[in-house]
Amino acid sequence: MAPADRRGSRPWRALAVLTVIILIMLVAVTGKDTFRPDAWHRQFRVGLGLDLSSGTQVVLQAQTPNGQPPLAAEMSQARSILQSRVDGAGISGDQVQQQGTSLINVSLPGVGSQQAIALVSSTAQMRFRQVLLYQPGHAKTPAGSTRPR
């Protein structure tokens, strides 16, 4: 049998390791608010998925005229266009992910179905138009107008 002193020292060491792990995780969670207990509640938030909060998930399948699977480059391009469209609509916490070879999964927290489908399911359209009037963005906005938030 092992000597008693070895058995005596080991359990404390293991418990100490466990305590250190928990402390490190706590510090990692609280981050810069570690020493301000009143602000802790902000850090202890768990991100909730769509099915526990609210929002819309849309899965899109790419279709090619010849029925062949789409090219990886085409898919990643389509994904990034969708991503920029969703970002542009000011939705936070969104996820636009490619699944498999031909699926794109779009999750839009807090967005109703009609709005989400309108945003995502329409195909991107390119138009060429002659410019009639132009004003550089860095110029002062016209008097009387309000700036968006």
Binding site: Q57, Q61, G88, M126, R127, T141
Partner: protein, 702 residues
């Protein structure tokens, strides 16, 4: 002009356009407003410049090819664009006017400089607005950056990609769309949390009832495991953008059973050692050595299952696999860093000694002790024909059920639309009228759960039809649009889920057989496989007979059962291997003794696994009525029952059968069982498979 004055453009992030400008001029999501090809529009670009644009001259579909190229003899990049016939003609006319009328004075006259530009507009936003500096009738266009600030390769490629997208032959079909209202999300969160707390409380109560004082260690461990899981989930959602879904909560609740089981394995081992007459302190150490292996092997199996599930599952159940894998790791940490050291410490105090002594003399403990010593024993192996026959009958009934009644597939597999909404005052007649007024004839109307939620199921609908249904429900029943949760499923969606699940199943079976062959031996792997297939077939049969609904969550639950069924089998096999390594009795006898010795633990394991699942099922069906949570827990419940049965009545008897038929080389595993030639010979001689009800005490190897 009015719109142009109102228009406010702000520079977007990372080269994208900030779409907030649409609101400043009253443009909504309606494409007709900002993409009207027949009229003038206003728009913005990524830098925040604003524009008034003329009617569309040609469309992206007129673009046949786009490439980013390095201009010859320079470091400047450009984009080459080729137009089709109609596009070339329209662009030729435009550039002729621009070049002849505006270009000459563009340097001096601001208006002419503007009119000389052509904007490329992607989804209403200006991508680029280059100046025309020549007539381009051929449809071969070259776009260069301003001479003061030429295109880099990256800029040219980005522009080319944006132009290409308009011409890309890739269109998208909406396969699946589901929307969760805030009420429904809240109800699901509540149901998940309540079932988790209920499951935890039941397990805690059971631990105290069964282990008394030692239960304190188990409960402490559960609390620490819960704390670690919570912190891990918070950290992951901070740093990995991990979002906890309903299926993730289900994974956490199922994990309560796994964590509790690690204690059970250890404590039962410890009790065995004490029964052997060992004093408590050394018993903790030697019991630990044996339990550690079992815990690691079973956690490995469930971790493998989690990884495969995560890799193959569609997003919905990835959350389940993720938390299951996470908590398996946490379980290992808790057992090594908390349970074991606590037991070592407690063994040194008088407290636990008296508790253990008392437990050992209690009635159930006595039964465990007698089973362990072989004084009392159930002849599982000898009567195996009975169990085979019972399972065979169940399988045949299940098969007949499958052929006659078929499986009741959910809307995800058949395709269709599903609407859920809260309406305490509504009747199904009113809802039916609302559906009719929306032009949707056939629909199934159902009331769900405690929250007066209604569920209406119809044939597949287009987005416009679904919108009509929502509006009708709003007008006829006064339901706020925001509280309707529609789900639109194309008929091919379920097929996607199933084919992935089938892939996962096959790979899982291969991986498991390989792993068990290495960790144990090939015959054990095959026997475990037989038990697994048995569980799957029984579960499918039950589903066909009872007519439970099969949804994607059910399919995933079925995959999870595999992990669980194995987990249970592995623990029994571990003991079988240990016993059969001894020199004296036949394989059948030794295996039967192992079954009896692990019987109490098997029952405990099954109970602690079933209790949390049952609490999800119970809370879910009361609060929510239907949904993925119920589908998942129901299939787990059925499968776990079957798994608990098969690890005792199928897996080990099959193993013994194989061992008797092909008694050959048992030590194929890398960790070779310490089988003596004598035991192999005796295994061969007892081909009858009859095990003896005797008080033979197995000599144990240390």
């Amino acid at each position: 002009m009015k719109l142009f004055r109102r228009l406010v453009c702000t520079p977007g992030k990372n080269g994208t356009v900030d779409s907030a400008w649409q609101a400043t001029v009253g443009y909504t999501q309606q494409r007709a407003q900002w993409d009207d090809t027949g009229s003038q529009i206003v728009s913005c670009d990524a830098a925040g410049n604003k524009y008034v644009l003329d009617k569309a001259v040609f469309k992206g579909t007129d673009v046949t090819a786009v490439n980013a190229v390095l201009l010859p003899n320079s470091t400047q990049w450009a984009v080459e664009m080729t137009l089709d016939g109609a596009g070339s003609q329209a662009f030729g006319t435009l550039t002729t006017t621009q070049y002849n009328d505006y270009y000459p004075n563009a340097g001096t006259n601001e208006d002419d400089a503007v009119l000389d530009q052509t904007a490329m507009v992607l989804d209403g936003n200006v991508v680029s607005a280059p100046q025309t500096n020549t007539v381009i009738p051929s449809g071969q266009v070259e776009i260069t950056g301003p001479s003061s600030n030429p295109f880099t390769q990256q800029q040219a490629t980005q522009l080319a990609n944006q132009l290409k997208y308009g011409a890309l032959p890739l269109s998208f079909k909406q396969l699946y769309a589901t929307s969760i209202s805030a009420q429904l999300g809240r109800a699901a969160l509540d149901a998940g949390l309540i079932s988790g707390v209920l499951g935890l409380l039941l397990i805690v109560a059971y631990m105290f009832a069964y282990y008394r004082g030692l239960g304190l260690v188990a409960v402490g461990g559960l609390v620490i495991a819960a704390l670690l899981s919570y912190l891990a989930v918070v950290l992951l959602s901070d740093y990995q953008r991990f979002n906890l879904e309903l299926s993730g909560i289900a994974g956490l609740v199922v994990a309560i059973g796994i964590t509790a089981d690690s204690f059970i394995v250890f404590f039962e081992r410890l009790r065995d050692e004490v029964r052997e007459g060992e004093r408590l302190r050394p018993a903790v150490e030697s019991g630990w050595k044996r339990a550690r292996r079992t815990i690691l092997v079973s956690d490995t199996v469930s971790f493998l299952a989690a990884i495969l599930l995560f890799h193959f599952a569609v997003s919905d159940v990835q959350g389940f696999a993720y938390t299951l894998g996470l908590t398996t790791l946490i379980d290992v940490a808790v057992v090594f860093l908390f349970t074991k050291p606590m037991m070592t410490l407690l063994a040194g105090t008088r407290f636990s000694v008296s508790r253990l002594a008392r437990r050992a003399t209690s009635r159930f403990g006595q039964l465990g002790g007698r089973l362990y010593r072989g004084e009392f024993s159930v002849n599982f192996i000898g009567r195996r024909r009975i169990w085979y026959a019972a399972s065979g009958v169940m399988l045949v009934i299940g098969l007949i059920g499958l052929l006659v009644r078929r499986l009741n597939f959910s809307v995800e597999f058949r395709g269709g639309a599903l609407f859920q909404f809260p309406a305490p005052a509504a009747t199904s007649g009113q809802i039916s009228r609302a559906m009719n007024s929306a032009g949707v004839g056939q629909s199934t109307i159902q009331q769900l759960g405690l929250h007066h939620t209604w569920q209406v199921q119809t044939q597949p609908l287009t987005t416009a039809q679904a919108g009509a249904v929502e509006n009708a429900l709003h007008h006829v029943l006064g339901i706020p649009l925001g509280s309707i949760s529609p789900q639109l499923v194309g008929p091919t969606w379920g097929g996607n889920v199933t084919s992935k699940a089938a892939e996962a199943l096959i790979i899982f079976l291969i991986v498991v057989v390989l792993y068990l062959s290495v960790a144990f031996e090939r015959k054990m792997a095959m026997a475990a496989l037989v038990a697994l297939l048995h569980d799957i077939m029984i579960t499918v049969g039950v589903y066909a007979l009872v007519g439970f609904q099969v949804s994607p969550a059910t399919v995933i639950g079925l995959l999870t059962i595999l992990g669980y069924s194995l987990y249970d089998t592995v623990v029994v096999f571990d003991k079988v291997r240990e016993n059969t390594a001894g020199p004296r009795s036949s394989y059948g006898q030794a295996a039967n003794l192992a079954l009896n010795q692990t019987l109490v633990r098997s029952l405990n394991t099954s109970l602690t696994a079933l209790v949390p699942v049952a609490s999800i099922l119970f809370v879910g069906s009361i609060l929510l009525g239907a949904g993925p949570l119920n589908d998942l827990s129901l299939v787990l419940f059925v499968g776990m029952l079957s798994g608990a049965y098969s690890s005792i009545f199928i897996a080990t008897p099959v193993l013994v059968g194989m061992q008797e038929r092909w008694p050959g080389n048992r030590s194929t595993g890398s960790i070779s069982p310490r089988a003596s030639s004598q035991s192999r010979r005796s295994a061969r001689t007892s081909a009858s498979g009859r095990s003896v009800l005797s008080s033979t005490r197995m000599p144990r190897s240390r």
